[in-house]
C-alpha cells in the first residue's frame, strides 16, 4: 500500500452508498437539486476515501452524530456473500468490483462484520488453488488465451476462460506470479535440452 500504488488509489475511488445524517447547505447538486441544501437522510454514493473520513469524523454536536452512515456496497451485499458461500469459484468477482478484495478489506476495517472475513478468506484460498491450476495449464506462448491446448490435459476450455475473466486485481496479480513461475520452469526445461 504505497503512496503511488495505482490499485490502492483506484480502490479508494470505489463508490459506497452513504446516508447523510444532517442537512448540508449548498451541496444539493450531489442529489440533482442544485441551489438547495442537501437534506438529512439523502442517499448518495460517495467514493471510499471521502466516505471513510466522514464516517470516522463526528460533527462535534451534542449528540455526537457522524456526518454520514454507510451501507455495504452491492459488491459485498448479502446475495454476493451467499453465492460465495455456496461456491467461491462460480462468482465472477470482477463483475462486482475490479478491486473486490481491496474494497472488502477496507469495509471490514470500517464495519464490524465477523462473518465477511471468514467467507472472504475461504473464497480467496479456494480461488487461489484454481488460479494456480489455470496458470500452470495455460501454455507458454502468451500470458492468456494463446496456446491453450498445449500442456492442457484437464479439458479446460470455455469455463476456464470465463473464470479467468472474473478475477479481480489481487487475483490477477496472483495469476501472474503463478504463471511466471510455471513459465520460467518450462523455459528452463527447454533450455537444458538445447545445450
Amino acid at each position: 500500500m504505497s503512496y503511488y500504488d495505482i490499485d490502492s488509489i483506484l480502490t479508494d475511488a470505489e463508490k459506497i452508498p452513504c446516508t447523510f445524517q444532517l442537512d448540508i447547505p449548498d451541496l444539493g447538486y450531489l442529489d440533482n437539486t442544485p441551489n438547495q441544501p442537501l437534506k438529512a437522510g439523502t442517499k448518495v454514493s460517495l467514493p471510499l476515501w471521502l466516505a471513510e473520513m466522514l464516517v470516522i469524523a463526528n460533527t462535534g454536536g451534542p449528540d455526537n452524530k457522524t456526518f454520514v452512515t454507510f451501507d455495504l456496497p452491492r459488491a459485498l451485499g448479502n446475495d454476493v456473500v451467499q453465492a460465495l458461500k455456496a461456491d467461491p469459484r462460480a462468482v465472477p468477482l470482477r463483475d462486482q468490483s475490479a478491486h473486490f478484495y481491496g474494497l472488502a478489506t477496507h469495509m471490514m476495517d470500517l464495519s464490524e462484520e465477523q462473518e465477511l472475513g471468514s467467507v472472504l478468506r475461504k473464497t480467496f484460498v479456494t480461488r487461489a488453488a484454481e488460479i494456480s491450476l489455470h496458470a500452470r495449464k495455460v501454455g507458454g506462448g502468451g500470458v492468456k488465451g494463446k496456446g491453450k491446448d498445449e500442456g492442457s490435459n484437464l479439458g479446460i476450455g470455455g469455463a476456464g476462460e470465463d473464470f479467468l475473466r472474473g478475477l479481480d486485481e489481487w487475483e490477477r496479480k496472483l495469476f501472474r506470479k503463478a504463471h511466471d513461475g510455471a513459465k520460467a520452469g518450462k523455459e528452463w526445461m527447454e533450455s537444458i535440452k538445447k545445450n
Binding site: 472488502a104 471490514m108 472475513g117 487461489a128 494456480s132 513461475g181 520452469g185
Partner: protein, 271 residues
C-alpha cells in the same frame, strides 16, 4: 518498483547451484588433480570410481573421458516407489527429504548422532545439501534430495546412455512426480483457509526447483490471507485489550471495596 527483480532464486540460478552436487563418475582416462577455488579435485585413475562436482562430471562426460554412475534414487524402481508413496501412502504431504548425515536419534530424543562414513576422509564435517553426497552412488534410494529435479534432468539430457537405457521410463516417472507435487502445492494453498489453523503450510521435502517455481504464488496467497485477516485480527485484538482493561478495573474495585466485588467478577468470567 522500478526494476522488479523476482523474489528468491530464479530457475537458472538454482540449476547453477545444483551443479555443485557431487556425482560419482567412472573415469576412462587418467587426469591429474586440478587446483580449483573450491579445492583440489581428486586425481582420476581409470577403473576407480570417484566423486566429482556435477559440472565437471558433465564436462568430462561430453568429452567422453568419463561415465557417470547415476544416483540410486534415479533408478526407475526407486522413483516408482516415491510416486507410490506420494500418491497412495501420504497423499497429503510431500515425501520425506533425504536423511542428513547428522540427525536426531529416534530412540534417544535430545541426542544427535552422526550417521555416515560416506566420505573418505572423516575429519571433514560435511552437512548441508550441496556438500553432502546426496547424488553420488552411495546415496540412499527412495528419497529425493534437495536438487532432485535439476540433477535428474541434467543426467537424462547429457548422460542418458549411462542410465541403463530406460530414459523414457525415468522421464515419465519424473513427470508424474512433478505433477503430483505441483498438485499438492496447490492444495496446500487451500489449507490456509481453514479456520483456527495457524495458516502454516509444511514445505518439508520440497525441492529447490519447486520452491523457485512456486515461491511467487505461495507468498502471494499468504500475503492475501494476511491482508484479509488483518482487519478481523485488529478488531479481535482491540476487543481483547478492552476486556483486559475491564478486568483490571474490576480487580482494582474489588481490592478497594473489599469482598463486595466478587459477584461482579464471577459474572464477567461467565460462570
Amino acid at each position: 518498483m522500478a526494476l522488479p527483480l523476482p523474489l528468491g532464486l530464479t530457475h537458472s540460478e538454482v540449476a547453477f547451484l545444483a551443479e555443485m552436487e557431487l556425482v560419482t563418475v567412472v573415469p576412462r582416462q587418467r587426469l591429474e588433480s586440478i587446483d580449483l577455488l573450491s579445492g583440489k579435485t581428486p586425481p582420476l585413475r581409470p577403473p576407480h570410481r570417484i566423486d566429482l562436482p556435477l559440472w565437471l562430471a558433465l564436462l568430462l562426460k561430453k568429452q567422453r573421458r568419463a561415465n557417470i554412475v547415476p544416483p540410486p534414487w534415479l533408478h526407475p524402481a526407486s522413483l516408482a516407489e516415491i510416486v507410490h508413496r506420494e500418491t497412495k501412502v501420504h497423499p497429503q504431504s510431500f515425501s520425506e527429504p533425504m536423511p542428513t548425515s547428522s540427525r536426531a536419534r529416534q530412540s534417544q530424543p535430545g541426542f544427535a548422532g552422526r550417521i555416515g562414513g560416506n566420505n573418505n576422509n572423516d575429519d571433514e564435517v560435511i552437512l548441508s545439501p550441496p556438500f553432502q553426497s546426496n547424488c553420488t552412488s552411495s546415496a540412499p534410494a527412495g528419497y529425493l534430495p534437495y536438487h532432485w529435479l535439476e540433477v535428474a534432468e541434467a543426467l537424462i539430457t547429457h548422460a542418458s546412455d549411462d542410465l541403463g537405457g530406460n530414459t523414457s521410463e525415468i522421464r515419465g516417472l519424473l513427470r508424474d512426480l512433478v505433477e503430483v507435487r505441483a498438485a499438492k502445492m496447490r492444495d496446500s494453498a487451500e489449507t490456509l483457509g481453514a479456520e483456527g489453523q495457524g495458516g502454516v503450510v509444511s514445505l518439508r521435502g520440497v525441492g529447490a526447483m519447486e520452491l523457485a517455481e512456486n515461491r511467487g504464488f505461495v507468498l502471494g496467497v499468504v500475503d492475501g490471507v494476511r491482508k484479509i485477516g488483518g482487519a478481523v485480527e485488529t478488531a479481535r485484538r482491540e476487543r481483547e485489550e478492552e476486556m483486559d482493561l475491564g478486568g483490571g478495573g474490576d480487580g482494582g474495585r474489588a481490592v478497594g471495596g473489599g469482598y463486595g466485588g466478587d459477584g461482579d467478577s464471577d459474572d464477567d468470567m461467565g460462570i
